[in-house]
Assembly symmetry: C2
Homo-oligomer: 222 residues x 2
DNA sequence: GTCTATAAACAGATAGAC
DNA sequence: GTCTATCTGTTTATAGAC
C-alpha cells in the first residue's frame, strides 16, 4: 500500500506504478504530468525535483537523469502546457456543433474557445505553470521561452482565429484574469465573502459549477 | 566607490549608504524597496534574503532580524505594494484636472486610473511582486494575504470608483494582462519581432514611450 | 530503465559582539 | 542599529550499482 501523501505536498492522483519498468517516453509523460502540478502550485524555484519525482512515483535522481536538469524539466513542462492549450483551442475552433442561432458564428467560436480555456483547469497546474513562466521574463532561458509561447498564443488569435488586435488583446486579458483567479485559489474563499463571491461569479458566468468541482478547496496545500 | 553590481543580480540604483546608522523605520523602507525589486524579478522562492540585503546595502542577517523571516518580509512587501497601488488609484480618482470634453467624466476617470496603474511600473518590481503573490494561492499565509489584497482592489473599483461588476472585471482583466507583459519583459523583444511589437502596441496605446523608457532592456537579468 | 548513496552548494536563521 | 561567524537543513546533480 502506498503511504498517504505527506501533508503539505502536491498529491497527484495518478498514482505511482511502484516498481514497474516503463518506456522512457511513457515515464517522461508521467513526469510531465507531475511537473505541471508541482510547478503550478509552487512555481519554478519553489518546486523541487524531489517533489516532482514523488508525485510521479520515481526517484529524484531519475527525474534529473531523464530531463538533464530542473531548468530543462520546467522548459519541457512549459512546452507541454502550451501544446495542450493550443490543441484545445484548435479543437474548439474546428468544432462544428450547431450553436445558438441567436449569436453570430464568430461569437459562438469565441465562446467555444473560452470554454476550452476554462476546461484546461482539468490539467492540474497547467494554467498556473504558464502564469509562473510568464512572470520569469528576466530568466535567460525561461524568459525567452515564455515570450515565444505567449507570442504563439497571440498568433493563434490573430491568424487562426481571425481576431483583430483589439479583440485579441481583450481575449487574452480575460484569460490572464482567469489564470490569476485560479492561481490565487479564490475558490478557497468562495462563499465565505460576499465580495469575493461576486467577483468569482462575474468571472465564470457559465462555468461556475464546473470550476468549483475541478478545483476542490485546499488542494495543493503547502 | 561602490563595486559594480555582480552580474546576474538585481541592482537597485538607490545605492547602499554604507556604514550609516539609520532609524529602524527608514531602514525598513529601504529594505522594502529592495525587496520589491528582488521578489519581483525572482519570485518569492527564487529571491534570497541575501540579495535583498545587498540591494539595500545591509547584511543578510539584519534583514531577517528586522522582518523576522523571509515570509514576513514578503508579506510586508506585498502590503507595501498594495498600499502604493491604492494610494495611486485614489490620487487619480481625486484628480480634478480638466479632461477632454469629448469623453464622459466616467471615461476620463477610468483613463486616469489606468494611467496610474501603468505609472506604477516606476516602482521597481511592484507589479511583478503582486503577480507573484497572486500565484501563491496555495501558500497558507501568502495565499490568504494575496486573496485579501485582490479583494481590496476589487472593492476599490466597485465601491470607490463606482463600477459595476462587469466593468470591474474588464478593468482588472486589462490590468492582469499589463502585469503579465511586464513580468514577461516583452520589452526585451519589442522591435525585433513584428508580432510582438503589434501585441505590445495594442496593450499600451498611449503609454508606450514611457513604458519603454522605464523598463530598459536587460534589466533584472539573472 | 531505475535506484541508493552522496557530494557540493546554498540559504535562512541564530548567537553574540560592537 | 548593525555586523561577522556559523549552524542546520535543503536541494540539485553526479557516481555507480542492479
Amino acid at each position: 500500500m502506498t503511504p498517504p501523501a505527506a501533508s503539505g505536498s502536491v498529491a497527484v492522483d495518478d498514482a505511482p506504478d511502484t516498481g514497474k519498468r516503463l518506456s522512457s517516453e511513457e515515464r517522461r509523460r508521467q513526469i510531465l504530468v507531475a511537473a505541471l502540478a508541482v510547478f503550478g502550485a509552487r512555481g519554478y524555484e519553489g518546486a523541487t525535483t524531489d517533489e516532482v519525482a514523488r508525485a510521479a512515483g520515481v526517484s529524484q535522481p531519475y527525474v534529473v537523469r531523464l530531463f538533464g536538469s530542473k531548468e530543462n524539466l520546467f522548459l519541457a513542462a512549459l512546452d507541454d502546457a502550451l501544446a495542450r492549450m493550443l490543441a484545445g483551442f484548435r479543437a474548439a475552433l474546428a468544432d462544428q456543433t450547431p450553436h445558438d442561432p441567436e449569436v453570430t458564428p464568430e461569437k459562438a467560436t469565441a465562446q467555444r474557445i473560452g470554454q476550452a480555456y476554462v476546461d484546461l483547469i482539468e490539467v492540474r497546474g497547467l494554467h498556473q505553470t504558464l502564469a509562473h513562466a510568464y512572470l520569469l521574463g528576466s530568466h535567460p532561458a525561461i524568459g525567452a521561452a515564455a515570450r515565444q509561447g505567449f507570442a504563439k498564443v497571440w498568433r493563434f488569435f490573430r491568424d487562426e482565429m481571425g481576431l483583430d488586435a483589439d479583440e485579441s488583446r481583450a481575449f487574452m486579458a480575460e484569460g490572464m484574469l482567469i489564470s490569476t483567479m485560479i492561481g490565487l485559489r479564490i475558490v478557497d474563499d468562495y462563499g465565505s465573502d460576499p465580495q469575493i463571491t461576486e467577483l468569482f461569479r462575474s468571472c465564470f458566468p457559465t462555468e461556475l459549477p464546473h470550476v468549483l468541482e475541478v478545483l476542490p478547496r485546499g488542494t495543493d496545500r503547502w
